[in-house]
Symmetry: C2
């Protein structure tokens, strides 16, 4: 079966993003290396524009709109970072955006989305109840009424290709890697990264990390088909997805070596390590990959390992409580 | 009058530090630019080894010890980051270190200093009461008894030259700057940075920022001689110095355009901005320069401005309280 994207799509995305997205730094920590016995390279997508890797995929998708699509604008539904990414990308490209967000998303994400839309005519945020309403149905209705193009948060080839530029850059910055560890929500980031990494380094082992409470991809791989679960209850709000995508799952199945999980308690410990030792604010979802590495869920001793810190958009009051806990 | 260091000393320091110190990233923030009307380049020394710029000066000093000095080792007195910097540099260079620290320094800094000494024979931390004892006398006594070389936290040409590499790198990374804003404790960082910056960019305006409660350098500049004050009461524990140094003050007087102050409340607001918007953990002292810029104390509209974030070593419980406050 042909996968939804290939390496050429990621290279083209990298060209579209050049000078627009940040080339985020790669940080190392001797403490983390000593803990794990590996040589770790942390790709800091929490320092990306709007605070998460999602900007890459959103901008790559919107930059490919034709003139009619640009005029009508874009609509998106998202648990948070995709919303901000679309809002910002749309404003940069001068088009209206409608963002359909869960009403219980972190307040910082709702406010930031509205900030990013500011000054762009025709842009707005529409809130819904994620336990009672179907966000996809709402999105489709508005898209139909206003002629807007719907860009889903992960299951779209342009989004996947954009996210893959994070791994492309990381390998350019860190050099050869034995393994790459990436968080898994709907699979947009890991599928793009897996295509980039396995093209550049055919022997690399790509590992995914899901929240313990939301291991739908792990279940799907075991069963050999996409499994859908209830909305998982986890602090990793960016990975509260119910299933992998129809485009992302085949990529994960073909190119990802294993998918493991991290508990919320492990995410809190990892947030504290990131703040205390690496001086970084990383949101719970952004800690998934690092948690599996630092807690020894993945045994990576002796290996050169890329670890994607996917985002840093977290409510500061919640963050303060997490890092202050014993 | 000849200054204690020149640009050649900083270039030599940069060579000693190559491959040992991190070349820390320079981050930008469109939000910060919009707030200030300037184009800001934040030099992230909170992401330096041991969490602060102090590693640069300490390593540059210890790397120049002769064989007899290496055997006997180094002694240092410090409010915190210089301690960790000396402890780590000494271990990397295989020599004993004795660190004389105030007993009320942040626990994270005392613990980290001991961690950095681990495995190095002859190394220890000696605590003293900073309101009743004279740290310099304690340091001199131990230095005499054990034949150790005392490296002061700022008033030493090798330390000053090492710190100056932060500005050298920043200008290499960001390109030409109209202004450079640096925190001021004893003046080691700003004196080194001023020598580097004014050599590379003769028209640059270098500004220093002190805690409001500890404006000894501002007073000294006004009086034209070094003024000593009581130990200032401020959350900027890295800038609780009582006076500039005999070597640093002449550099500041010659090359620094202005010294302004930031209140503790401004430092807390800046810590919150750094965490929420820039996803960085910056300690109070490390926020001094950014506070003066973000709060408009310095009017830098239309300018390209380097801002040094000097360190990130802060007790997480205190940090959590500061960023969670309204």
């Amino acid at each position: 079966m042909t996968l939804a994207i290939d390496f050429g799509d990621i290279q083209a995305a990298a060209q579209r993003l050049a000078g627009v997205a940040h080339r985020t730094p790669v940080l190392t920590s001797r403490t983390a290396d000593a803990l794990t016995g590996a040589r770790l390279f942390f790709k800091c997508e929490n320092l990306q524009r709007m605070g998460a890797f999602k900007f890459r995929g959103a901008y790559n998708a919107l930059a490919q709109f034709d003139e009619a699509q640009r005029r009508a604008g874009v609509i998106a539904f998202s648990s948070g970072n995709h919303a901000q990414a679309i809002a910002l990308s749309a404003r940069l490209l001068g088009m209206p955006s409608v963002i359909v967000m869960p009403g219980d998303a972190p307040p910082i994400k709702i406010a930031a989305t509205r900030d990013y839309q500011e000054g762009q005519r025709g842009s707005e945020v529409v809130l819904y109840d994620r336990y009672r309403e179907d966000r996809e149905a709402i999105g489709r209705r508005i898209a139909h009424e206003r002629g807007m193009t719907l860009i889903p948060p992960y299951d779209h080839p342009h989004v996947m290709a954009g996210q893959g530029t994070a791994a492309l850059e990381l390998i350019e910055q860190a050099g050869p890697l034995d393994a790459l560890v990436v968080c898994v929500g709907g699979g947009g980031l890991i599928s793009g990264c897996a295509v980039a990494a396995t093209h550049l380094l055919p022997a690399i082992a790509v590992h995914g990390v899901e929240p313990e409470a939301g291991n739908d991809t792990q279940l799907s791989l075991a069963r050999g088909e996409i499994v859908s679960i209830d909305v998982p209850n986890t602090i990793a709000d960016g990975a509260q997805t119910q299933s992998s995508g129809r485009l992302t799952f085949p990529v994960i199945r073909s190119l990802v070596k294993s998918v493991v999980t991290a508990s919320d308690a492990a995410l809190v410990r990892t947030m504290r390590f990131m703040a205390g030792r690496m001086k970084l604010v990383v949101e719970p979802t952004g800690c998934l990959a690092a948690a599996a590495v630092l807690e020894g869920t993945l045994d990576l001793r002796g290996q050169r390992v890329g670890v994607v810190l996917s985002g840093g958009n977290v409510d500061l009051k919640s963050f303060a409580q997490w890092i202050a806990a014993e």
